[in-house]
């Protein structure tokens, strides 16, 4: 019994007097662990590490998805939903890059720069973009191509292609093609049940729930695809950090209602 009491006292000490030191040590240990570098990320993102871009410009969204012909009211609502989701795909692509320490202009300023561009999206995507580096000081341009939307009774699907091209050399620093699916919840009769997060998003953005679900799908997709690229100059970790890349070049992404994400590797983009 005495031993039990001593144990309890030790636990009590650990929980009171030494808790702060204990937590500080663990916190420092976690930081050290996170700072440990490996060669896997260097191998996965060799081009980005070789170029070390600092300023990234997101080109206007190349929207290749089909819209419904305007015949009924539902068509206009559906098309408006797709338009808003496409805009949100472009707007939410900057967040992960800014968090990684890259310099990006916002959507209004980028629109002003895009308004001075005389080339089409396809010409920009495949042609020479050296003037972006010489005239504007942009190191790399991110091209986002929206290939299409699809929907079943409980699944929203979007197919997006990300290409990061260097403005200095014209090389492709990153190329990802992904088909993301958002699994919706249904009740026992098969009717859709919107999530509370979707309803909050719709209330905050002033749109309907379907649009909110599509917007959250593309936002999650942006965060997933761009979440582990090498950090930019603001973070100053170009040569020290290293993480395991979370996804291959071609993959399908399945987002479940509980927030879990399932990635299925594919060979070719379909």
């Amino acid at each position: 019994m005495k031993l039990k009491n001593e144990n309890q006292n030790a636990i009590c000490k650990l929980l009171t007097g030494h808790v702060s030191r204990f937590l500080v040590f663990h916190f420092v240990f976690l930081i050290l662990l996170s700072a440990c570098s490996s060669q896997k990320k260097l191998d996965a993102y060799t081009d980005i590490y070789s170029e070390r871009p600092q300023v990234i410009y997101i080109a206007p969204l190349n929207d290749l998805s089909m819209r419904h012909a305007l015949r009924t009211v539902d068509d206009s609502i559906y098309n408006l939903s797709l338009n808003i989701a496409a805009k949100h795909l472009y707007l939410s692509a900057a967040d992960p890059l800014i968090r990684h320490g890259y310099y990006l202009l916002g959507p209004l300023a980028s629109a002003q720069i895009a308004a001075t561009e005389w080339r089409t999206g396809k010409q920009l995507r495949n042609g020479d973009i050296g003037d972006y580096y010489t005239e504007l000081g942009i190191d790399a341009v991110l091209f986002i191509t929206l290939h299409g939307w699809n929907a079943t009774y409980n699944t929203w699907t979007v197919e997006v292609e990300y290409v990061l091209r260097s403005a200095r050399t014209g090389n492709e620093l990153l190329h990802v093609s992904v088909k993301a699916m958002k699994m919706l919840t249904t009740d026992f009769k098969g009717y859709l049940l919107p999530l509370r997060e979707d309803v909050d998003f719709a209330r905050r953005y002033g749109c309907d729930v379907e649009t909110a679900q599509r917007c959250r799908l593309v936002e999650t997709l942006n965060q997933y695809v761009l979440k582990d690229i090498p950090s930019g100059l603001k973070a100053r970790q170009h040569t020290t950090e290293g993480y395991i890349p979370s996804h291959p070049e071609y993959f399908n992404l399945k987002i479940h209602p509980d927030g879990s994400v399932q990635m299925l590797k594919t060979e070719l983009y379909e």
Partner: protein
């Protein structure tokens, strides 16, 4: 022994547990602050403006940018492009001077943005393309931009106010002029600086009001003097006219009297001449 265990558990659950939870709570807060709330582009307002491109939506967007900028400076997480976004929004609203200041602040804060910002200035405000130091219209009052950015949070004001209004209860913005290259950029004020700025502005406002009152009194006195002078002039003119009229009337009467005397003399001469003629005719008849 059972009592001792109960005491220990009681201690664990009362005195130390609270500290334990406080430590853990602070640790969670620390972790949450590590992840950080992203203070950046207000995507909802941008989406609304891109969907419905009206002046009201643009003003809401500019207000959101001002709020985001204020929050970002408050928590020291100024993300790239925020000055440029706010500047472009202001330029689209027509406030090119303030927009030029914001774009200059973007170039000052992030030098790698120079090419892009120059391209934006060339498109939106080509007359201010070479202006990278100051703006022409509001250099006199450094707090004008700050007060407008603060006021735009609360009310729709199409143009910046002429008199700066700094609230003493919340964060205020001023532009600090650096001695090196004289580029002005906004900073956040401390409470003491805010109070001093408020007192200085109140003193300036009192001086201005006194000057306005003095000038108004001087103008009023000048108006009264002018009115008295005009009245005196009118009186004098009236008297002169009266005197002239009397003199003219007197002269006219004298002339009339002379004419009357002349006529009487003529009549007398005529009567004498006729009397002489009658006497002469009488003499002729007698002869």
């Amino acid at each position: 022994m059972k009592n001792e265990n109960q005491k220990t558990s009681h201690k664990l659950l009362t005195g130390h547990v609270s500290r334990f939870f406080i430590f853990h709570f602070s640790f969670f807060i620390l972790l949450a602050s590590c992840s950080g709330e992203y203070v950046g582009v207000p995507r909802a307002d941008v989406l609304r403006y891109q969907t419905v491109s009206t002046y009201g939506a643009l003003h809401e967007l500019a207000t959101s940018y001002a709020r985001s900028l204020n929050d970002a400076v408050r928590v020291d997480t100024l993300h790239p492009g925020m000055y440029a976004e706010y500047g472009v929004a202001l330029a689209l609203m027509g406030h090119t001077g303030t927009a030029c200041r914001m774009l200059n602040a973007e170039m000052k804060t992030f030098p790698e943005s120079r090419g892009m910002v120059q391209r934006i200035k060339k498109r939106l405000m080509p007359d201010m393309l070479v202006d990278t130091l100051a703006t022409p219209h509001d250099t006199a009052n450094l707090a004008q931009l700050a007060s407008w950015a603060y006021d735009s949070l609360t009310a729709l004001k199409p143009l910046p106010p002429l008199a700066p209004v700094i609230d003493s209860t919340d964060t205020a913005w001023v532009l600090q002029q650096t001695p090196v290259d004289s580029i002005e950029y906004p900073i956040r004020l401390t409470a003491t600086q805010k109070r001093e700025l408020l007192e200085k502005q109140q003193a300036e406002e009192a001086t201005r009001q006194q000057r306005i009152a003095d000038s108004l009194a001087a103008v009023k006195q000048a108006a009264l003097d002018a009115r008295k002078q005009a009245q005196a002039d009118r009186e004098r003119e009236k008297q002169e006219k009266e005197q002239a009229r009397k003199a003219e009337q007197k002269a006219r009467e004298q002339q009339r009297e002379e004419e009357r005397k002349q006529k009487a003399a003529q009549r007398e001469e005529e009567r004498k001449r006729k009397a002489a003629e009658r006497e002469e005719s009488k003499k002729n008849k007698k002869k």
